[in-house]
Amino acid sequence: MRGLLLAVLMASTLSCGGPGDDDLTVFAASSLTDVLPDLAEAFQEQTGTTITTVFGGSNHLAAQLNDGAAADVFLTADVRLLEQVTTVNRSVSFASNRLVVAVPEGNPAGVSSLADLSRPDLRVVVCDEAVPCGASTSEMGVTIEADSREISVRAVLSRLAMGEADVGVVYATDVTAEPGVEPAWNQLESCPCVTYTAGARTYWALPFLTFLASPPAQEILAGHGFSTRTPG
């Protein structure tokens, strides 16, 4: 019995990866859901390393990492979370994103300004303040009469795409990713903005961090609507 336990423990330790192990596990904020597969593919072409991705709310992922989940890289929009879980002292900011007021395709409720977020007759859906997109949303400086506070920005997006919500606040890149959702109006200069930072938790994750800041990766990010790093 004890021998069996030991074997299981050893196997699970070994599968956590080591130098020469051609696989990286990346925990990523859910707003990176669409872009990360493209980045992973390019990285694999370049280096031969395959990437396993796990998406979720940043806080939730951080809690899992603190509870011992094995991941080599953590990509999050909340630097404070990164500090809690980074075991290797190396991180890099690789892209930024901004919040936009979004509506279902065709804007059926005729949303035209920030003030519409406080209209009680509209069905307004935003992120809960417990998750990063919600914390940023509350920094928009407008009273929001929410009908629902969702647990992730993707949940807000899905409410809009399904037409259950009249208006919501999501990231600019989410609007790019979902054809059933559009910005309520032209919001090129909108903020608050968030910066995505990658934190390495193992040494063999460092090449991926370097890759994220490289021109090919930055090009992919820009293609998905992210604001990329200013060169230099």
């Binding site: 809690a63 069905r123 809960d128 009908d147 399904m162």
Partner: protein, 262 residues
């Protein structure tokens, strides 16, 4: 009968399996600040809402489920096996899928929901009624399975006899079937209520999350885990106490094959 040792040993493992996580939860409880925590509105509101939603859901389940269980057990309807499987489906279906299915059916653009919206201005998502709908969806099978099981295992001799003596079917149901069914109904209701109280996935998918309107205890706990661990633990304690307070008396009185303990 003397209990065989191996059986006792495995039973002990099973008890530990359930008890250990509860112990783990209890030893992390912030007992010193518990008083303040429990008085917070962020805990009392979801508690009251959860009691309301699960209570109404349990009633709806009894009202809908009793005729359904009786029909499944006593009436030769075509496709009974398929109907039974369909009724039990929410037990197996991931609740998030159930919630999405409810959206497609009762949401603002849903199969039936679009007409509810257009004709009556009635929309269920993002309302307390929506949270009840989600809870009933997942809890109904637990009640039906308990009551139908009791109907099928009990003999219908008395009912037959009453029928031969000229009693109307409705009267037979009221005077003979229902009174004998009460223990099973109680047990089924307890199970359904417990399922409704713990419901998370279908609720957050279908009804959304808003404090005081749709944010039940499980939703509040999940969100507190993201931001305030102490509060999450206090919420878990509340769920634990409420669940045990209802399940312990019910277990003794109503669960099948059990006499009340003296």
């Amino acid at each position: 009968m003397r209990a065989p040792r191996p059986v006792l040993a495995v039973a002990a493992i099973a008890i530990a399996y359930v008890a250990l996580p509860v112990l783990g939860l209890l030893q992390r409880m912030p007992w010193s600040s518990m008083g303040d925590l429990l008085a917070r509105e962020s805990i009392t509101r979801p508690l009251l809402l959860s009691l309301l939603v699960s209570g109404i859901a349990a009633l709806v389940v009894v009202i809908l489920g009793t005729p359904l269980a009786w029909t499944l057990a006593r009436v030769e309807i075509p496709g009974r096996r398929i109907i039974r499987a369909l009724v039990l489906l929410p037990m197996v279906l991931p609740p998030v899928v159930g919630g999405t299915a409810l959206l497609f059916a009762l949401g603002r653009r849903g199969l039936v929901g679009q007409w509810l919206d257009r004709w009556f201005g009635l929309t269920l998502p993002f309302t307390t009624a929506g949270a009840v709908v989600a809870a009933v969806f997942v809890a109904l099978p637990f009640y039906v399975i308990a009551v139908e099981g009791a109907l099928e295992s009990g003999s219908d001799e008395l009912e037959q006899m009453a029928g031969t003596l000229g009693a109307e079917p409705m009267r037979v149901l009221r005077r003979i079937t229902l009174p004998r069914l009460l223990p099973a109904m109680g047990a089924g209701m307890a199970l359904a209520w417990a399922r409704a109280l713990g419901e998370f996935g279908a609720t957050i998918t279908f009804a959304g999350n808003l404090p005081g309107r749709t944010q039940t205890l499980p939703l509040a706990t999940f969100l507190a885990l993201e931001s305030d661990t102490e509060e999450a633990l206090a919420l878990s304690l509340v769920m634990l106490i409420v669940s045990l307070a209802v399940l312990i008396p019910m277990r003794d009185r109503w669960l099948p094959g059990r006499r009340p303990e003296r």
